[in-house]
Symmetry: C2
Subunit: 343 residues, 2 copies
């Protein structure tokens, strides 16, 4: 936790609060953290023969969350979930998280603000503990605007050369997704129609507020050599499948009736539910490719796995992604992932 | 470079611009980067037997820099220098940098804004190339305010168990600093008096705009077992020496006449020059401890090394840091590092 200038008292108290919150799930419980918060750098010692995976994700107020819409515990949870999901997509295990957090002066100085921070850290900490991820450092600052600004860094590890990339799918591989799709979009739409902030807590029924990163599934895919390629569904199936196809130099055919729709989409029309599932984004499920001959379990780590389509070599005149609707009816699926509510 | 929502065209162009800028100093030139920008995570492969060092540092407009004061190349340079200096303080070598960058919509859309980004990246890239540090990923976003927000993450490595900590100094160790002190404060004071933005470029004579992280010195200190403890002077000698003393459980006696003052402090009164040197901050020199019997070269990697004092066991009634002014005159030095110009 390097610092460029002396911290005002509020910031020192914040660092103290962060250290206290995380001491229980902290360095002591994870052998990989040789030195945590308090020096110029943290020191990590990954298992021998492992490579290091690194991802960084902003969580900026009014871009990635809204204070009037998201309970603080959800903001903390989602902030960490984004990074953990990136590790899951590569089949990696988390070694440590780092949090850069800038808070408005008002938050540091008011009781209400301090409660916000406490709940934010509790949401972050709860998910961190669940995935044995110590907070090993970061940075703090007073925010230059009346906006909460966070950047979350996740460091993970995987056996050398074994990390799942999005570029290694083969022609004729089958395509699978974990869990269900469209739930995050459906919950967000419902939240936007409400006038008061939700008081929900973390559970499977809140795919937008408390998404569950699929680390256990990713780990099994890697360990048992099940997948050739994987990506997490952060931008929506249409966008993320486009990334996988482009990276692997392939095209995809998807069966729309095979898509596992989240139960929260049941209230929507068939068309809206399908739209939420293919363009919705932020479901943080995994999309992966596996040889057709590979027997993929129906559940991995208790998470349902659904085959949704097949990859093919590119062919002139064929779109990158074809969505089959039954019978002879099909359409081109273009990347049109979910737009931020703020823009 | 994971993404939570589809990027507007400006952001895609930005990622493209970043990739282009860094391709020359990029993954190809650093064997440690097995996979750079473009997947859910970057993959790093540190040298066998090495531990991993991680540091994150915000560079937020109006907190850490001002657009009317700092040329964009300086903002990019300083942003990276902060992280590199943290690695230098532990004796580590950089493996890769990650940049989370949020830009106001106006910057992405105007020619002037695009030039700002180009110069910012050029400043960042120039220092990165100098220290063989590829940019391996990060995040991009539209800023939620009319403010440029950056968070820089540095990953480095050092032989396992050999990283220099601030907590391992011994009683009777001598204290040394690299380079000279007070220059950053003196240059900033001069900048604040000017009306127009400086057009300076990187060189040793701009300790505030273009500080030089002491990676080569840190590396020699570690390799040759010269230092018992080290810290970088980011907050100012009074604050950073306090950290070192507290972490090591020791007190320090400093000889004020031994402090190597930067030539830019020559225009100041003796008292103001001393103030800049002990409280100024952001000099990004190294402060290190070494056994008195150890022969420390006068220069390491071409950087002058100056002995400034000695560490002692704590004693009741003695302050944590005593500053000796010659003869019998001495005073207590309390941490009172440099305050941000914005606060």
């Amino acid at each position: 936790m390097a610092r460029s200038a002396p911290k005002p008292l509020g910031e020192l108290a914040l660092i103290e609060q962060i250290s206290r919150t995380f001491s229980s799930a902290g360095a002591a419980r994870n052998k990989a953290v040789a030195l945590g918060i308090g020096d110029d750098c943290a020191i990590l010692r990954p298992p021998p023969g492992h490579e290091i995976l690194v991802t960084t994700d902003f969580s900026l107020e009014n871009r990635h969350f809204r204070r009037d819409l998201h309970p603080p515990a959800s903001v903390g949870h989602r902030c960490l979930a984004r990074g953990l999901s990136d590790l899951a997509a590569m089949g990696a295990a988390p070694l440590a998280a780092f949090l850069s957090l800038a808070l408005p002066a008002k938050i540091l100085r008011t009781r209400r603000g301090q409660r916000w921070v406490q709940d934010f850290l509790a949401g972050f900490h709860s998910l961190a503990r669940q995935h044995n991820t110590p907070l090993a450092g970061g940075d703090t600052s007073e925010s230059p605007a009346d906006l909460i600004l966070a950047d979350i860094i996740l460091i993970g590890s995987a056996p050398r050369g074994r990390s799942l990339r999005r570029s290694d799918a083969h022609p004729d591989d089958a395509l699978y997704v974990t869990g269900s799709l469209g739930g995050a979009h459906a919950e967000l739409s419902a939240l936007l129609k409400r006038t008061h902030r939700s008081r929900s807590t973390a559970s499977d029924s809140h795919p937008h507020l408390y998404p569950q990163p699929r680390l256990a599934v990713g780990s099994v895919l890697l360990r048992r050599h099940l997948a050739t390629a994987a990506i997490d569904l952060s931008d929506g199936l249409s966008t993320d499948l486009t990334h996988l196809c482009e990276s692997s130099g392939l095209r995809a055919e998807i069966d729309s009736s095979a898509l596992p729709l989240h139960s929260l989409t049941a209230k929507l029309s068939r068309q809206d539910a399908l739209h939420a599932a293919v363009h919705g984004g932020e479901d943080y499920e995994l999309l992966f490719a596996a040889p057709t001959a590979m027997r993929i379990p129906r559940k991995i780590a208790d998470v349902p796995i659904t085959r949704i389509g097949t990859l093919h070599p590119p062919r002139a005149g064929k779109p990158l992604i074809t969505l089959h609707h039954g019978g002879d009816i099909s359409s081109e699926l273009k990347p049109a992932g979910w737009q931020h509510f703020s823009s």
